[in-house]
């Protein structure tokens, strides 16, 4: 990479390659599109819209009433009464996705391996359902007593703790909260830890359960949500749609995965991050470009290798325009040879969990040769003149790809991955 030739990459974005290779050997998903990786990916291929009228308390007091809600996910069907006392919906979804990922990986965690396993999850908010319910009790119902486990139930790191407890994972474990980049920052840390040898396995990803009355009210206040349909990159786009869900991966050192004959989903190749140091809500081309370049440099990946970009693609006027400019700046003429789609058009914007749901889309695209579409696309925008795979998935073999997250507050995180051909 140019960065290495000219004396190393930009400060703060990590050095190219080196260390051990890292692959994904297990994936688990809960989203509005499905309650398993297979159903989620099938929906991506079909371009299915996961957005519908929200079913929550006090919906009649909301101006924005549509979201990508995982309505089929019912915690009570999966967990006991005593578990439900401790599990916010955030933890419920994270544990369900982790269970699928662990099962798929075939990993058997004994005491020795447990000590070498990290758990790093991205979550932007807290257990918002727990907060909403208990604020209702104390403020609205005037109750003077709440359930004794509200604190462990609502804390941002609860999903990490419960995953580590469930599987006996005793290595480095923490949650990452960087708004809409949380999952990418979490997976980036997990990747670097396995690559460097700080851990041999990392259970990582992101989760968010923000579809509560209070959280919806707060997002309404920002006035960046669409009242109708989320149309990323389309000229007619008028805002984003919230979603909920979890995606969890098992990242594993390559030789270890090969030795035990694990099924490999793809190689996690690089990670780049940057801060805009600009505006608390407006995105920046410079910050986004630096994170993209950082990820490519970290992966030792030439821009021309990239065939697919899973966009941050929120469907707001500012994000999509800025993101396309950043891609053009980094990829130059090659920007016209790749596909850049926003799967948020289907699974909504799951905030701290978004990057993880989108990492599923990226790995699935590389592995299956089916690039997911941007749905609801009706009219091209000259300011977003890239191939967004409008409305229908595209069959195309991509050797490598990146997944972008550009959070409010200018915290950017990009993960790069390569197709695994065995």
């Amino acid at each position: 990479m140019d960065g290495a030739a000219s004396g190393g990459p930009e400060p703060g974005v990590g050095g190219p390659g080196g260390g051990r290779r890292v692959v994904a050997t297990g994936v688990g998903v809960i989203s509005a599109l499905g309650l398993s990786t297979a159903s989620h990916c099938e929906a991506l291929n079909e371009g299915r819209d996961g957005v519908a009228t929200l079913e929550i308390e006090d919906i009649d007091r909301l101006a924005i009433t549509r979201a990508a809600q995982a309505k089929a996910f019912v915690g009570e069907d999966r967990y006991s009464r005593s578990q439900m006392a401790l599990y916010d919906r955030t933890t419920q979804m994270a544990l369900a996705a982790a269970a699928e990922a662990m099962r798929a990986s075939g990993l058997e965690v004994d005491e020795a391996l447990g000590l070498r396993c990290a758990v790093i999850m991205g979550t932007a908010l807290l257990g918002m359902g727990t907060i909403d319910d208990n604020y209702r009790d104390v403020f609205q119902e005037k109750k003077n007593r709440v359930h004794p486990f509200i604190v462990p139930r609502l804390m941002n790191s609860a999903p990490v703790s419960f995953i580590s407890m469930e599987y006996g994972l005793k290595g480095p474990a923490f949650s990452v909260s960087t708004a809409c980049s949380s999952a990418n920052h979490a997976m980036g840390q997990a990747f670097h830890m396995v690559r460097s040898g700080a851990a041999d396995v990392a259970v990582t990803g992101g989760v968010e359960a923000p579809l509560t009355f209070g959280t919806m009210k707060a997002w309404e206040g920002l006035r960046v949500m669409t009242k109708d349909v989320c149309r990323p990159f389309a000229k007619t786009r008028n805002g984003m749609t919230l979603g909920e869900g979890a995606a969890v991966f098992v990242f594993e050192e390559l030789e270890r995965a090969k030795a035990r004959g694990a099924e490999i989903w793809g190689e996690i190749a690089g990670f780049g991050m940057s801060a805009d140091a600009g505006d608390i809500v407006q995105p920046s081309v410079d910050g986004a470009s630096r994170a993209l370049r950082g990820a490519l440099a970290d992966a030792g990946m030439a821009p021309e290798e990239v065939g697919y970009i899973n966009a941050h693609g929120t469907g707001t006027a500012a994000n999509d325009r800025t993101e396309v400019q950043a891609v053009r700046e980094v990829f130059g003429a090659h920007a016209d040879a790749l596909v850049i789609s926003s799967t948020k058009s289907m699974h909504g914007h799951a905030l701290g969990g978004a990057g993880a749901l989108e990492m599923v889309a990226l790995l699935h695209a590389l592995r299956s040769g089916v690039l997911p579409p941007t749905i609801n696309y009706d009219e091209p925008d000259p300011e977003c003149d890239v191939d967004v795979a409008p409305n229908a998935a595209r069959e195309a073999k991509a050797a490598a790809g990146v997944s972008n997250s550009f959070a409010f507050g200018g915290l950017n995180a990009v993960v790069a991955a390569r197709r695994w051909d065995g």
Binding site: A63, L222, R223, T226, N238, V281, Q282, A317
Partner: protein, 93 residues
């Protein structure tokens, strides 16, 4: 404010709200000034719209995602006042 909120009341209150966002004396808020002229950025506009909704108990159709494309005309102070006067009549009249 009640039904008695006349156009003048509305204008006075809207100017007050805009002045607060612009950190200006209400007397210095010119009718033809744009939000840009007043140094009110997108965050300031969202806050001003919120203050207007609270002051008149109305709902303002303002989309921060693309302010110029909203049904709420924010070209300048005069257009904002006219829009709010219309909304007050429509929603409280």
């Amino acid at each position: 404010m009640s039904d008695a909120a006349t156009d003048d009341d509305v204008a006075r209150k809207v100017i007050e709200i805009i002045a607060e966002q612009a950190v200006l004396d209400p007397a210095d808020v010119k009718m033809d000034a744009t939000p840009d002229d007043l140094g009110v950025d997108s965050l300031g506009l969202v806050e001003a719209v919120f203050a207007i909704e609270e002051a008149f108990d109305i709902s303002v159709p303002f989309n921060a995602n693309d302010p110029t494309d909203s049904d709420f005309d924010i070209s300048n102070v005069e257009s904002i006042i006219a829009a709010v006067q219309g909304l007050v009549k429509a929603q409280k009249g």
